[in-house]
């Protein structure tokens, strides 16, 4: 708001200057047209003044509000916290702030977009300013800005970013991790296992005769099998296991803090479960089997890629020995 110092009309310079009286009127009208709430408190936190914005948005009558304690007039305010905040403003003579990002709102005020946003109350940025006057005790001015729009768009943006991050990690068909994210995870788990000297195992698996399945029943059937088998395997894993689609009909599972015996046991369980399940496509029962290769980090690998190579050669061995089985890497 304007500084209300007296400007005496000077006839000689011909400059247009306003009298104090007129300036007061101007300031009052501006204060009442502001799209910001303005409230003034005395040092005992009683409301001594407020503007039209607050009057309209609180739907309260000035006569009932002026002279009241702010905590009485607005019981929704967090009193203890706010008193501490006010005392900083008065004692240090510094402004203080409260952003919607930390507290969505202080005052429970309605806003102008109740239909198009999902928040009940107006999101607010509040500023608390120390005001010094000729009278002895200090006053506190509270400015309340409506940031419902900002808040709404920021939340939309965050939601979109989260979705994008999710999409960039997930394989569109099977809804498990995609190759890129899975490989990034393996890199991290490999480094973690090496640093903390923890066990780490890997299972690579492949659907048997998948090409034949596609040729006989069509690619839609192949897709169905990929989806169903992924879901079946996902259900057998622990939360910390990382299951991804390595490519085509090849999948891979990272097993943190798991030794070779544990990984082999899991691989064999997965192998049996997949072989036992009966899938149907166009009312036709379809049986699928998988081959699995299991490897454990020996500590001698120079990179995570070596671990993939070991599991891959075990998978090759399982295929060579007749499929529908799990093999461990012979190193």
């Amino acid at each position: 708001m304007f500084d209300c110092t007296t400007y005496m009309p000077t006839k000689d310079t011909g400059k247009s200057v306003l009298s104090e009286q007129v300036l007061k009127q101007v300031n009052r009208q501006i204060a009442n047209q502001l799209n910001t709430g303005v409230m003034v408190l005395d040092s005992a936190f009683n409301i001594v003044n407020w503007n039209r914005f607050l009057q309209v948005h609180t739907d309260k009558v000035s006569e009932d509000i002026i002279g009241q304690s702010i905590f009485h007039a607005f019981p929704e305010l967090p009193e203890r916290w706010l008193v501490r905040k006010f005392s900083a403003v008065m004692q240090l003579n510094t402004p203080s702030f409260c952003s919607w990002q930390q507290r969505h709102h202080l005052f429970e005020l309605p806003h102008t977009r109740p239909i198009t946003t999902d928040s009940e109350f107006m999101a607010q940025n509040c500023t608390f300013l120390p005001i010094e006057t000729d009278c002895k005790s200090k006053l506190i001015c509270i400015l309340i800005e409506d940031v419902t729009d900002v808040c709404h768009y920021q939340e939309q943006l965050q939601k979109t970013l989260d979705e994008l991050a999710q999409i960039s990690r997930i394989d569109g068909l099977t809804q498990i991790y995609n190759r890129r994210h899975w490989q990034e995870s393996l890199k991290q788990e490999f480094a973690k296992a090496q640093r903390h000297d923890k066990a780490l195992s890997l299972i690579m698996l492949d659907l048997d005769y998948f090409k034949l399945l596609n040729d006989n029943y069509g690619h839609q059937c192949g897709d169905m099998v990929l989806i169903e088998v992924s879901a079946l395997i996902s259900a057998l894993l622990r939360v910390e296991d990382l299951f991804g689609r390595y490519g085509g009909e090849e999948f891979a599972i990272i097993l943190p803090e798991t030794n070779l015996a544990g990984a082999l046991e899991l691989a064999e369980r997965i192998c049996r479960k997949v072989a036992a399940v009966s899938l149907s496509y166009n009312d036709e029962a379809i049986k699928v089997t998988i081959s699995l290769g299991v490897a454990q980090c020996s500590g001698e690998e120079s990179s995570y890629e070596d671990l993939i190579t070991h599991a891959d050669s075990a998978l090759y061995q399982a295929k060579a020995q007749g499929r529908n089985q799990a093999c461990t890497a012979t190193t």
């Binding site: 203890r80 916290w81 240090l92 510094t94 702030f97 930390q102």
Partner: protein, 202 residues
């Protein structure tokens, strides 16, 4: 010497003004926080925006950075960055006199930052016959490398900055933080005018 560099007299004058402001600010803070606040003698240097980027990104394990813009008369303006390390901020809500759970960790950092920045700059402004206004403090997003990323975004508008480094310590609450005031080129020229005026009066 570039027009943005301070002369030796100007540098001494600014150092003295900051020392006095720090003394008064720490006194006010101690009263408000009801504990001793230690401030180390600040360092003032002119830095190339590019070097600044390097200096600040070298500060490892910075957990959070809070930024607050300030602006006063005579074109004095800049940005205060408060950098916190992980181990320095466990008891801020205690220090501020809040109940546990009354405010989030982010809010604690923002709150204490605003108090430190505005208390110091208010006193400093008074020393040079000025008055400061402030933007709302903001926690910079993304903890890792946030400092250098942030600077990358702002630094293209100026090549040289006056960097004032102030360290706050509250040993009773094992609190420690670094305040860095960044003052861009055009504002440096304005500060030089103010310093010259003070030196002439002296």
């Amino acid at each position: 010497m570039s027009e943005f560099q301070l002369t030796e007299d100007q540098q001494d004058c600014l150092q003295e003004l900051i020392n006095i402001a720090m003394g008064q600010a720490s006194d006010q803070l101690a009263r408000y926080l009801d504990t001793f606040v230690y401030l180390k003698v600040p360092s003032i240097e002119s830095v190339d925006a590019k070097d600044l980027l390097q200096i600040l990104s070298q500060q490892q394990n910075t957990m959070a950075v809070v930024s607050q813009g300030f602006f006063g008369y005579e074109g004095i303006r800049g940005e205060a960055l408060l950098a916190y390390q992980d181990e320095d901020s466990g008891r801020i809500s205690d220090l501020l006199g809040y109940e546990p759970g009354e405010l989030s960790e982010d809010e604690q950092l923002i709150d204490i930052s605003s108090i430190l920045t505005t208390t110091f700059l208010n006193v400093f402004a008074r020393q040079i016959g000025n008055q400061m206004s402030y933007n709302a403090p903001k926690l910079l997003p993304s903890v890792q490398n946030s400092m250098s990323e942030h600077l990358q975004q702002i630094s293209f508008s100026w090549d040289l900055a006056l960097k004032v480094n102030i360290n706050y310590q509250v040993t009773d609450y094992s609190f420690n933080c670094n305040m860095i005031l960044l003052i861009p080129e055009t504002a440096i020229i304005n500060i030089k005018h103010v310093l010259d005026r003070i030196l002439a009066e002296f």
